[in-house]
């Protein structure tokens, strides 16, 4: 695409045009806090924590760095008093919104906020509407079981009509990306209970040890995506590791023997 010159925190550098300012700054070792950002997802620009001061021509303004494409003539400052003040207010507002989210409080103290000056809400759990759960399910997993509903202060993440989802595959990606721990999923025997979305999923039992290890729907979803030959054996990761080790234990340090054993093992799968 071509290189462009930009100045970040007084330092002039050349980067590829349209790279996200946040990524470039972090590569330079600059600290920029984020909440709704995830390297595997498209930037969303909702939490406002990553704001920086941008100057182009005669104008200077605050902008989120996660979705700011670097272009010729852009100059960025990541640590001005204006930036600090803004980040403090953002985290203060999020603290008041979700006081149960401990990570928000920790981040707040790091940014210099002692306590929020607003009344604490207790009806929203730990959700800060970062949208990571919605976005990962939509963009990465491709299932789109979650969505934002309503508008403004009523905005909430829900499954359609707040009911058990019939398309959720129970992969727990939403749990993994949630920064505050608002999304909760508990495996209870052979059932995965994603409590936050009121969705329960039956799990597959390992043919070797009998442990429930993966939702049936997730297995079916992956089979559909990766091909029928995937998961012919329903073996949990623990037992699969044991199987692999057992296979390799029969083998000496001889390279040819190892290659032979591995292809034999692969042959077992076909």
């Amino acid at each position: 695409m071509g290189l462009v010159k930009t100045i970040i925190d007084v330092k002039e550098i050349e980067v590829e045009r349209d790279r996200w300012a946040l990524d470039v700054a972090r590569e330079m070792g600059i600290y920029i806090p984020t909440l709704c950002h995830h390297p595997a997802l498209q930037p969303y620009g909702a939490c406002r924590l990553c704001v920086v001061e941008v100057t182009k021509g005669k104008g200077t303004w605050l902008a989120t760095s996660c979705d700011l494409p670097i272009r010729e003539g852009l100059s960025i400052r990541t640590n001005t008093p204006e930036v600090i003040k803004s980040r403090k207010m953002t985290i203060e507002l999020l603290w008041a919104r979700a006081p149960a989210a401990e990570c928000i409080q920790r981040l707040a103290k790091e940014l210099g906020v002692e306590k929020p000056r607003f009344s604490l809400r207790d009806d929203l759990g730990r959700c800060i509407l970062c949208g990571l759960c919605v976005r990962v399910c939509n963009e990465l997993i491709g299932v789109s079981a979650l969505s934002f509903t309503m508008r403004g202060v009523e905005r909430k993440v829900k499954t359609p009509f707040d009911r058990a989802s019939d398309i959720c595959i129970g992969c727990n990606a939403c749990v993994a990306v949630c920064p505050t721990g608002h999304v909760v999923s508990v495996d209870k025997g052979a059932v995965r209970d994603i409590e936050t979305w009121k969705t329960k999923l039956e799990m597959v039992r390992c043919e070797v040890c009998g442990r429930a290890y993966m939702p049936v729907k997730e297995l079916e979803y992956l089979q559909a995506k990766l091909g029928e030959q995937t998961f012919l054996e329903k073996v949990c990761p623990m037992c699969r590791k044991s199987q692999t080790v057992a296979c390799l234990e029969d083998v000496t340090a001889n390279k040819e023997d190892i290659e032979c054993a591995v292809s034999e093992y692969r042959g077992m799968k076909n």
């Binding site: 989120t64 979705d67 934002f148 508008r151």
Partner: protein, 607 residues
């Protein structure tokens, strides 16, 4: 008869015609019944063929509706009821005199005026855009053509080059009329130069500001002018597809636009190979679904695409990547209808109207505590004072002027000593408000400015899309603080915190909604700080509006015991008899203020 002969016969010079205003205000006041009455009575008198009856778009003087104009005499009757029609027909159509009682009476005088051009309300305006409403039935493309419509489109696509058109629009100085005031020519040029096809040309008919009805009146009253403007723009930019996004609450505008599109297509003025040239342009209508935020350009485009109206950061302009990720040019309704005027009269002519950096005219909806409410159009640079007093007739009930709110929820309130400010894009913004899309609300001394801030802030908490922390959480907390203050539970720190959050929302929001959301609060804090202080320190509402901070009582010295307040009180809190000063029982009083409104002696006081 050829088409041309047919059209000319229909609008024979001098043929008698009754026009009745079909704008929303007049309709609500039985305007359509008035039209029906004319049709019936003329038919009964066998005058149906001789006298045309035409329902037009909004004629602007809403306070005096329903408006009836008799042509060719150009007699204007105001506040006409269906029961008046017989007399009008007998006196002014069959006869040739005037029904005095139905003419406009100049306030404070006995003078009767029956020509629109003699009325201060109209005479002080420059009705470049909205004057045409009066001359047409919006359902008739022939009417539009008869007053010169589509002449600019013909000129543009047969004589002019696209770059030349953009040049003219740039030189004219036209800036976006939707609120942001971005130079239109520059936007068109960026879209023309952007890479990608197809390109889209959009019309923003969302008009979400409470109280604004400028675009409504244009879309309903002169839909063809919107189509013509868009077609010229599309030709200049290199687009063949257009959308008009109309808010859900304007079904009449949608209907009139649909009819207009069909008629224009029939006449070869829209659709494939317009007027036999290579240029094709098709327009579709997209309806909103009740969200103020969908007036924001990126949210509007998301809505057309079928998504929720959620804005995105505009580091990459929509002229580069807009609707469906393609180069898109979005303009407001009023911006579009200025285009045919520029092409017709030339860019120099246009640039001669207005102020240095704001060319042309602006349509305003003048509402609130002003005598002459309605739709007004003035050259940019006209002083607020002139609009409110010369055109608006001054404050209703001759009360004291307190503030004028401009720009809707994105704007702010300006006090008395800012009345000489010229209204244009830059001057009002410098003063802490903004011209916005044209809403102008006049406020008198019985308006609580803190309550005004609360009203607009609450509106915005409901309309915010909720995506970004700044707007969603910031406005929520501002609303909380304003509630506290107006309910008498606020303290001085709350006022400071309110301002701090306001500035934060201004600088940290993703989109225009959030960025301007704090304006009502910040502008009232700037100009009416004393009212905030009264609310939190002395726990008083000086305007007597906030019920928890107000007590109503009757000044015995002024009370003439007329009994009007007793009659007006919904909870029977006022007692008193003839020649006995009336008293308000504080136990029963619900602070509604009805007694104060009706008292002819200003004897009801608030503390």
């Amino acid at each position: 008869m050829s088409d041309r002969e047919r059209m000319q016969a229909a609008r024979k010079q001098g043929k008698p015609c009754v026009t009745i205003c079909g704008g929303s205000g007049c309709r609500a006041n039985r305007g359509l019944e008035v039209a029906e009455a004319f049709r019936n009575i003329l038919k009964k008198k066998l005058l149906g063929e001789e006298v045309d009856v035409r329902i037009t778009g909004c004629q602007g003087f809403c306070a005096q509706g329903p408006l009836v104009v008799l042509l060719p005499m150009d007699t204007l009757y105001v506040s006409v009821t269906p029961e008046d029609v017989e007399e009008i027909v007998t006196t002014s159509i069959e006869g040739d005199s005037i029904v005095e009682r139905l003419t406009y009476q100049l306030p404070g005088t006995k003078k009767r005026i029956f020509r629109e051009s003699d009325m201060p309300f109209y005479a002080n305006q420059h009705r470049l855009i909205i004057a045409k409403n009066r001359q047409m039935d919006p359902h008739s493309i022939d009417d539009y053509i008869a007053v010169g419509g589509y002449g600019s489109l013909v000129k543009a696509i047969t004589i002019m080059e696209p770059d030349e058109i953009i040049d003219w629009v740039e030189k004219s100085g036209l800036r976006g009329r939707g609120g942001a005031g971005f130079p239109t020519g520059r936007k068109w040029r960026a879209c023309r130069q952007a890479k990608g096809y197809p390109k889209y040309v959009l019309c923003n008919g969302d008009e979400g500001d409470p109280g604004a009805f400028m675009d409504c009146s244009i879309m309903e009253g002169n839909p063809h002018s919107v189509l013509e403007g868009m077609a010229i723009g599309a030709y200049a930019i290199g687009s063949n597809h257009g959308y008009i996004y109309v808010r859900y609450e304007y079904p009449l505008a949608v209907e009139n636009l649909r009819i207009a599109i069909n008629q224009a297509q029939e006449y070869g003025l829209l659709g494939d190979n317009i007027l036999g040239t290579d240029f094709s342009f098709n327009i579709r209508i997209s309806r909103g679904a009740g969200a103020f935020v969908c007036g924001e350009s990126t949210a509007l485009m998301a809505s057309i695409e079928g998504f929720s109206g959620e804005p995105r950061a505009k580091h990459i302009h929509t002229s580069e990547k807009g609707l469906f990720g393609l180069p898109t040019n979005l303009n407001n309704v009023e911006t579009w209808v200025n285009v045919p005027v520029i092409i017709d009269k030339g860019w120099q002519w246009f640039a001669n109207i207005g102020s240095e950096n704001s060319k042309g005219t602006k349509v305003f909806s003048l509402v609130g505590k002003v005598k002459n409410t309605g739709l007004v159009e003035v050259p940019m640079g006209t002083a607020l004072r002139q609009i409110i007093y010369d055109i608006g007739g001054g404050v209703a009930g001759n009360r004291r002027f307190k503030a004028v709110q401009t720009g809707g929820p994105s704007g702010g309130c300006l006090p008395t000593n800012e009345l000489d400010l010229p209204v244009d894009f830059d001057r009002l913004t410098e003063a802490g408000s903004m011209m916005g899309s044209g809403g102008m609300i006049v406020m008198d001394d019985r308006t609580c400015m803190v309550e005004v801030a609360r009203y607009f802030t609450k509106f915005l908490t409901r309309e915010s899309c909720g995506k970004c922390t700044a707007c969603r959480e910031g406005l929520l907390r501002m609303d909380e603080l304003l509630e506290k203050i107006t309910c008498g539970r606020g303290c001085a720190e709350d006022v400071g915190l309110l301002e701090e959050v306001g500035v934060y929302v201004q600088t940290n929001s993703i989109c225009g909604l959030g960025k301007t959301a704090a304006n009502p609060t910040l502008s009232t804090l700037k100009y009416f700080k004393d009212e905030y202080i009264a609310h939190v320190v002395s726990r008083r509402c000086p305007a007597g509006i906030c019920s928890q901070l107000t007590t109503f009582s009757i000044d015995g010295a002024k009370c003439k015991a007329c009994g009007k307040c007793i009659k007006s009180c919904p909870v029977e809190a006022v007692t008193g008899g003839k020649k006995v000063a009336h008293i308000i029982s504080q136990d029963k009083c619900i602070k509604c203020g009805a007694c104060r409104e009706v008292c002819p002696f200003d004897a009801v006081v608030t503390m």
